[in-house]
């Protein structure tokens, strides 16, 4: 495969990721310690990419860096040669299509007073609850894809995607969100 180093060492050094709604300081601390950087200024994703690049070929490293949760559904990631990435990309593209159908049906119901039945992909809830359900679906799919892979390329890709899911989850900060809401809705903003 042309590895530049031992992925087992990297994978065993990375903090264990578990589904946790509140920010897991331990994960950030461990990654910061691993890269010997200040915890306050640590960017977990940057650390992971930098550390992984030490063990990957230039080509794989570029591919690894190009993986982004928000773009993973794009056809470029669905080439059969990409293995687990392609599998997850297909899954995400399908999920996004289902969600798009749900959103369009909701809009039609709201704007035109239509009474379309909504696709049952998730349990209706608040935007945060629904987003968490979607992240959980992605997380569970990654758990499934990771079966049998502990210290190889697929495990590393799954690790990155899981870390990105957690980062999205941890970014949902009610205080900062409320600041944005108030800034956009204040009378000064008109």
């Amino acid at each position: 495969m042309g590895w530049n180093g031992n992925l087992e060492y990297l994978m065993s050094s990375l903090p264990y990721l578990r589904w946790q709604v509140a920010t897991d300081k331990q994960v950030i601390d461990l990654l910061a310690q691993y890269a010997s950087v200040d915890t306050e200024h640590a960017d977990p994703m940057q650390i992971l990419e930098t550390e992984a690049s030490k063990y990957l070929s230039a080509e794989k490293s570029m591919l690894f860096q190009s993986i982004r949760l928000e773009h993973i559904h794009q056809p470029i990631f669905q080439l059969p040669a990409l293995g687990r990435i392609a599998q997850f990309s297909h899954f995400d593209a399908t999920l996004r299509q289902q969600i798009a159908t749900l959103r369009l049906a909701r809009r039609a119901n709201q704007q035109q007073g239509a009474n379309q039945s909504l696709p049952r992909i998730i349990t209706p809830g608040s935007p945060l609850q629904e987003e968490m359900q979607l992240l959980r679906l992605q997380w569970d799919k990654l758990e499934e894809l990771a079966i049998g892979h502990y210290a190889d390329w697929d495990a590393l890709v799954v690790y990155k995607l899981k870390l990105m899911i957690l980062q999205r989850l941890w970014s949902f900060d009610s205080l900062r969100g409320m600041d944005v809401f108030k800034r956009l809705t204040s009378t000064d903003s008109l």
Binding site: R103, L128, E130, F172
Partner: protein, 200 residues
């Protein structure tokens, strides 16, 4: 001013005309004050209700508003205001703006590329921006009406406390003066008549 008035019948007539006009104006200003006070109270209640709605919405969205903190997703492009439509309305002679509608810049939200929460967040922000726009328009109208109410009160008080009492006082003084002059002229005429009859 009162010392300089001319103590004659013309001034008396002019003062009486002014007094009638002052009394009519007082009635008008009293009525205007009453009407404006009622409308101000009504708009104050509307503004308070809007403020409560805004606070209540903030409380409701606080359960999920954390999604807006997600980096890389900016909802601003979907909540930009194109125009706030208002129309001019006359309330008790005061021209104020009244909210009609709010128009947002039409930018399509891609249901595949954007997160699911964007739809609900954009809707909530748009609704809240509409409330803020109504609030802002109402507040401006309220300021204008309150200013007009103060002016009506000032005019009412000036008429009631200064102009009318002053006119009444001046009328009284001229009437006394003219009475004295009349009595004096009658006395003189009698005296002249008596002297004339004695000399005959």
């Amino acid at each position: 001013m009162t010392d300089r008035i001319l103590m004659n019948k013309n001034t008396l007539a002019a003062l009486k005309t002014s007094l009638t006009a002052y009394r009519e104006a007082l009635l008008i200003f009293e009525m205007k004050e009453q009407q404006l006070a009622n409308i101000v109270l009504q708009i104050e209640a509307d503004v308070m209700r809007l403020q409560e709605d805004i606070t209540q919405t903030e409380h409701l969205v606080s359960q999920w508003i954390g999604v807006l903190a997600e980096p890389g997703v900016s909802v601003e492009q979907w909540v930009q205001i194109a125009h706030i439509h208002t129309r001019e309305k006359e309330i008790v002679g005061v021209r104020v703006e009244e909210f009609e509608a709010i128009e947002f810049v039409a930018v399509e939200i891609d249901p595949v590329a954007t997160p699911l929460w964007v739809d609900a967040a954009v809707e909530a922000i748009r609704e809240q921006r509409e409330r803020s726009a109504i609030f802002s328009v109402q507040l401006k109208a309220l300021e204008k009406l309150e200013e007009e109410l103060s002016e009506a009160r000032r005019m009412k008080n000036a008429l009631k406390e200064v102009f009318i009492p002053e006119a009444i006082d001046n009328i009284r003084r001229i009437q006394i003066f003219l009475g004295d002059v009349e009595r004096l002229s009658i006395g003189c005429a009698k005296l002249v008549k008596k002297k004339k009859s004695r000399s005959l």
